[in-house]
Symmetry: C2
Subunit: 336 residues, 2 copies
């Protein structure tokens, strides 16, 4: 699941620093993305560009560029790897929309509403194939290993979510395992390949991976909160989507565990059996507020955000390191 | 699209020779397949093994093993590449079933009927990820290049088919471009990686690729014919599926081009507009027989079969080469 990341948040935290530092590289990434969605089969660039050009902020490829810079990589393999990361992400979104039967994505009709489920599945597969081609061209077997393992882990996390769907007894640990797979793993891999390309020591590779993993977890937790109280217009999706789809996210896990028997009956009725009537979303949000479930999900997000920042401690101070700290603050501040 | 390949055909052509020659390797491939579908997320092995253990004859991985043998490869990288090829094929089948809304696959309910479209999409993605992990483990960048390009080309062929679907004006050339992508490319890649692993001269790599490509085209053309006159029980699918789905295959292309105005109106009504009543499939088969469309599709298949056999000419005579010739004869004989 992804949301549009607004460039500014009320707290002043911003990703503008990062955007500025990687701007020149990002232009090359965008050119690569454009050329690699090309095909004589016109439906492919149509579907791919509908989503790719729809205003996502390309946070994941920016992270690949940033970590390559931070660790002093002098080559240009990071351009293709960053494009590959964005293709993997886009393929996941296309397939997610089919899985979730989503009607909207980033404030526009989803690709499957415009071209059908078939096109979403197949163009997703095409982008995944193109992503691997680009990785192969870069020629780093270690980067290939990281990104191909991530592809399998992401799918595994999504299946886990499917199996956990509508199960209100899901524990916080089980839920964390889901989001580590479906969201955080790609952040982690996107970051890890930077120092891998630069052939830096294992400690820097591990630190970069840890930064990405914890940032990804924090990002997803804030996303979960926004689904119950966010600014739908900025998000490009509707409040309550998770609720209507019976998705078990951390706010639900906390509200369910802390609730009374009759409250648990409400969660089971609405999420497991899908019996939802007009004011049930309001009631759900009321229960979350009563049990501080949204607030505490944000606290948890801050915990992972802090781990992300600390993971970068072994790198010397630099504008890029400061910008990456700002990215963490920005992701957390989205919830205000 | 794939069918169960029966081990024997009335003409006596058989794949038993190939099966015998690769039996020891194939056992290792099967062990690899089993271990790589493993996951703590139980739905993954369930869905994957439902299809993988459902009686497909694993022709594609056998081709990888065969070409590695034929070109004298002494290592064991071909085991993982063969398993990767089977995973790519299985992922394609899982996604195809979602795209085609198929209810049956190899004589059993399709995975999407048992676990839903969601699981079929995501487990397909997982298998694709695992396929790439195995390729990376083998460590041949050239083999990775071939197989990742194949992944993109297969998806491209499927999208092309989607765009051509229900368009009775499709030419034979356009149709050939579709099946080169969606079917023959994986046969070609499966064969090509054998001599690539063995580090054989370009001529042998090209010959192996050509063998696979032409065998794949012949295989698909026979498959198209079987959909209008095959033995549904052996195929594990129903006669007329392509017709009901409005799929434009070579028998349709030929019957349409050779037909009268009123016959073309029939094809447009049934395939483009999907207005199909009780006896229309019989009528369609009648028109195909009248214009020798099925017979001539088989003739075309023999043409590609002959090209496949000739592609192997530069290899010295051996039991493996003879067995590969038998595979071509067998694929063609399925139509009798």
């Amino acid at each position: 699941m992804a949301v549009i990341v607004p460039f500014e948040s009320p707290s002043g935290a911003s990703i503008d620093g990062l955007v500025g530092l990687v701007a020149a590289d990002m232009e090359r990434v965008n050119t690569t993305i454009l050329s690699r969605t090309g095909s004589d089969v016109t439906m492919i660039p149509e579907v791919a560009n509908h989503l790719i050009s729809s205003g996502g902020k390309r946070l994941r490829p920016m992270l690949t560029l940033a970590m390559a810079h931070l660790t002093g990589y002098p080559g240009d393999g990071h351009i293709k790897l960053a494009a590959a990361v964005e293709f993997m992400h886009t393929a996941t979104l296309l397939h997610d929309d089919v899985v979730d039967e989503s009607e909207m994505r980033r404030g526009k009709l989803s690709a499957r509403m415009l071209w059908g489920n078939e096109a979403s599945v197949l163009v997703g597969d095409f982008l995944l194939g193109q992503a691997f081609r680009m990785m192969v061209e870069v020629g780093s077997l270690r980067a290939l290993d990281i990104l191909s393992a991530a592809a399998a882990t992401i799918a595994e996390g999504e299946v886990m979510q499917l199996a956990a769907a509508k199960n209100t007894a899901t524990t916080e640990d089980e839920y964390l395992a889901v989001i580590r797979g479906k969201t955080a793993e790609l952040f982690a891999a996107a970051c890890e390949v930077g120092p891998v390309l630069a052939d830096r020591p294992k400690a820097e590779q591990a630190a970069s991976r840890s930064f990405g993993m914890n940032l990804g977890i924090a990002f997803q937790l804030v996303d979960d909160v926004l689904d119950y109280g966010g600014k739908a217009a900025k998000l490009g999706k509707n409040i309550g989507d998770d609720f209507r789809e019976g998705k078990i996210t951390l706010p639900v896990v906390l509200a369910f565990r802390r609730g009374s028997d009759s409250e648990r009956a409400f969660w089971i009725k609405s999420l497991e059996r899908g019996e939802i009537s007009d004011h049930d979303l309001d009631h759900a949000i009321g229960l979350m507020n009563k049990h501080r479930a949204l607030e505490d999900t944000i606290s948890r997000a801050h915990h992972y955000g802090a781990m992300a920042v600390d993971a970068l401690a072994l790198f010397p101070a630099s504008p890029m390191k400061a910008a990456l700290g700002q990215v963490v603050a920005f992701c957390l501040a989205r919830s205000h």
